[in-house]
């Protein structure tokens, strides 16, 4: 053994010991601090007091049961402290969405679902709440007071809706997500999903709901946000590795972190050259196309980055005939549309509902996309598209010459003049204007020129002055009308109904819920029953004048009836209901909530005799 070796060993040992000691002091201090902080939260160095906040304001939502400008059953009730909880029942002071269960998927106006919906996307409706102070959330409590169990997703936004400057980056993080589960019973509960920790403070929370498993309308009373002002101490492991906020690991991509990751997938990537494609060369083109048609859009984009052959397949416009970007609403922006442009030249069904808000999509970005991809469009979904303006509708009207279905549900920021352009789309078969500001002249124009209309939704269109005139126009021009939603159309009378019933004899679905100006004594409901024998769905919600005669007329004439809502009338007796149930063998939904002559005992009796009908009887206490 040479004398150098022991020398080296001693030296290395010496260095090793010194280095270890330095390392220990460097990291041990940190470790000690965080351990101390964890063990003794009260004595933590920065004050990490938990702040509890109720929602200050409801910023946006996709639908609600109540009337615009009302306090009853509207989404605005979700702000502030609870009004009803812990009581259970159907109360006016809660937030209620427009639909529940699967009833709207089973009626003549039901829409076909888009293919390629990712298995973890269940959301049907949403509501966005702003809180006063941005915090790092530690808990979210949702106070549900009636038929709970609808919340499927909770998200937090990095943008502060109250800040003066527009945010540099708008990032949505999923705090919690789960498939809808059946909750038995209508009793109130406090729902506290187990949320994950995020690395930015937030005062903008979004709830997404799915009511398909519920027996009746769900009602939410309040949302409580617990959080801390200072970034909470994370687990020991993560403190050591300390974090870069722009971590781009696999998990974040799956959770839908930033738009960057999705856009990266869309963009052209440098692809490796290989001499052959192995077995893929043996498969026919169409077969690979068929296999790929089962992939979700992000997976399709990831696959495109693997090799030139699959890139060719994944960018083939035939893969994008039906394209739904709604599940990825948080990540779609102008850049995404730009990347998709070349592939979407043949798109026929396009779903951009919920996308583009808070500056993600610009008018020019959307217009550019439409001009390239709009020609073949048959179905266009733009629900809650708050980025839309008049120019966008003008572009749609110009480029989408084959458009048959247009959904502008809850586009309440669209100015009234924007709707003037819709009349140019003469091929329209379905038009949804729920909760929009469409005005009388524009609507009359649409009805005049869109004679192919089969499905029309004018629910909560508050700017229409004279619904009798609208109904008259429909009766005259829209002979092919099959479904009509006139929910909360405040001033329609028996005259409008008469013209409608005479002119639109193909009507299978008619929603006249909360139309108080219709009086049974004028014979309008009898008229409906006699003139519209094909009716499958009839909603007369909260019409207090519906009486036995009307029910008997329905029983005699509308034997195909499947769904009937007569909530809130005092004038219907069990006898006439029995006649109806005997006559209408297809009836599956009967809502007799708050009908004073139909008490629970009657409901039980009817249930026993007619087990296939679901009889709904809501209660307040």
């Amino acid at each position: 053994m040479s004398p150098v070796f022991p020398m080296l060993t001693v030296l290395s040992m010496f260095y090793y010991i010194c280095l270890r000691r330095r390392a220990r002091t460097a990291t041990r201090g940190e470790m000690m601090n965080s351990r101390r902080a964890i063990e003794s939260n009260n004595r933590a160095l920065p004050t990490n007091v938990e702040i509890v906040q109720y929602a200050k304001e409801v910023l946006d939502f996709s639908s609600h049961y109540g009337s615009e400008n009302s306090m009853s059953y509207t989404m605005w009730n979700l702000a502030g402290i609870q009004n009803v909880y812990p009581s259970s029942g159907d109360f006016t002071q809660t937030a209620v969405f427009r639909t529940y269960g699967t009833w709207w998927d089973q009626c003549p106006s039901a829409r076909l679902p888009f293919k390629r919906t990712p298995p973890d996307f269940y959301s049907q409706d949403y509501v966005e709440l702003a809180f006063e102070d941005p915090v790092y959330p530690t808990a979210v409590h949702i106070l549900e007071t009636y038929h709970p169990g609808s919340v499927v997703r909770v998200l937090a936004c990095s943008a502060n809706p109250y800040s003066q400057n527009p945010p540099a980056e708008v990032r949505w993080e999923v705090l919690w997500s789960e498939a809808p589960t059946k909750v038995n019973g209508p009793q109130a509960r406090q729902f506290t999903p187990c949320i994950k920790q995020i690395n930015f403070p937030t005062n903008l929370i979004r709830l997404e709901v799915n009511s398909s498993l519920l027996d009746y309308y769900t009602e939410l009373d309040a949302v409580v946000l617990h959080g801390v002002k200072e970034r909470p101490v994370l687990s020991l492991k993560t403190t050591m590795i300390d974090m870069n906020d722009d971590d781009e690991d696999e998990d974040e991509e799956k959770d839908g972190g930033g738009m960057e990751s999705l856009n990266k997938q869309f963009s052209v990537a440098a692809l490796k050259e290989w001499p052959t494609n192995g077995y893929f060369d043996k498969l026919p083109y169409e077969l690979i196309q068929l296999i790929l048609s089962h992939l979700t859009v992000p997976d399709l984009c990831r696959l495109a980055q693997t090799c030139k052959l699959l890139y060719q397949h994944c960018c083939d416009p035939l893969q994008y005939i039906h394209l739904s970007l709604q599940p990825y609403w948080a990540r779609i922006n102008d850049t995404s549309l730009e990347y998709l442009q070349s592939r979407c030249t043949l798109v026929q069904w396009l779903n951009l509902s919920w996308t583009g808000n808070r500056g993600a999509i610009s008018v020019s970005g959307f217009s550019r996309f439409m001009k390239i991809c709009g020609f073949e469009l048959v179905r266009l979904e733009l629900a809650c598209g708050h980025f839309l303006n008049e120019t966008c509708l003008e572009v749609i009207a110009e480029t989408c010459v084959n458009l048959q279905e247009l959904n502008l549900s809850s586009c309440d920021k669209l100015p009234p003049q924007a709707f003037n352009h819709i009349a140019k789309v003469g091929s329209l078969k379905r038009l949804i204007l729920y909760r929009t500001k469409v005005e009388q002249t524009a609507l009359l124009s649409i009805l005049n020129f869109c004679s192919e209309l089969q499905h029309l939704s004018l629910g909560s269109c508050v700017m229409i002055e004279d619904y009798d005139l609208i109904a008259s126009m429909m009766g005259a021009k829209c002979k092919k009308l099959r479904t009509l939603d006139l929910w909360r159309c405040k001033n329609i009378t028996e005259n409008g109904i008469a013209e409608l019933a005479s002119g639109c004899q193909l009507l299978e679905e008619l929603d006249l819920g909360w139309c108080p100006t219709l009086q049974s004594s004028t014979g309008c409901f009898t008229n409906i029953a006699r003139k519209l024998p094909n009716l499958q769905k009839l909603f007369l919600t909260a019409n207090r004048s519906v009486c036995d005669t009307d029910i008997e007329e329905l029983a005699a004439n509308c034997t195909h009836l499947r769904q009937l809502d007569i909530l809130g009338t005092r004038m219907v007796s069990p006898t006439s209901l029995r006649k109806l149930l005997e006559s209408c063998k297809d009836l599956s939904l009967l809502d007799v909530s708050f009908c004073s002559q139909i008490d629970n005992r009657v409901v039980l009796e009817l249930n026993a005799s007619f087990p296939r009908v679901l009889i709904k009887k809501s209660f307040t206490q």
Partner: protein, 299 residues
Amino acid sequence: MKSWWVPVLEVEGMCCQAGGGGEGRGESRTGGFVAQDEVCGHRPRFKLQAWSGLQTEKSAGSSAANSTVGVADGVGGWRDYGVDPSQFSGTLMRTCERLVKEGRFVPSNPVGILTTSYCELLQNKVPLLGSSTACIVVLDRTSHRLHTANLGDSGFLVVRGGEVVHRSDEQQHYFNTPFQLSIAPPEAEGVVLSDSPDAADSTSFDVQLGDIILTATDGLFDNMPDYMILQELKKLKNSNYESIQQTARSIAEQAHELAYDPTYMSPFAQFACDNGLNVRGGKPDDITVLLSIVAEYTD
């Protein structure tokens, strides 16, 4: 579920009896509320001392700039339709209270509160029936003005220095038939009296520190003439919560006693006599009395 008269009205000395005995539980058809809205704004100077002791929610950072008091008197006779007469007046007042708490009103337009409340009643899934008078009083603290809206024969008095300086006018179609808000069943449309909220009388005037505002249903005014009310109010020593409650309670109790005195010449009997009807005695009725004092606002 809380009944609508807890806790506001109980502590304000409401005395409730079912008109005409016989009803077991004695639910009153009258109702009232006192509420504070959450409008942020100028630094307030005055407030209605009436509810200094009450719990009201305040969101962080806002100061309440207005106070509102309201009473409603349900019209009987709805029992024939199987309707509980207290449902309408109670729901009306609860809705007004909610509107005020959420700041969905303009202080100088109390008729607006009535109109909006009435429209909200129609938005209820429950088929509400009934009718009621209503009186709303809003103190605008920043301008020191009192804005009032009165529909029917409930009303208010403003007492300063032992004298009545302002009072509401009764609105009657004819004898014992006050103006009233109502929701009628469909078969009785056009037969049942139904006044629009716009028909309410509306007044505005300045108030001073120390002014006493008494808001009550006709059960009080029909049984107790002004001088008796003023006598009771003289006993109000200071503007703390207990004294006000005590005084309001004693006024209501006294009116209640007088109502059942068959020989007493009540204001109601006097009015009847003046119109050719020979009657004496009090008028048994439900009585709601709300007392408030304009006091200095301290943060």
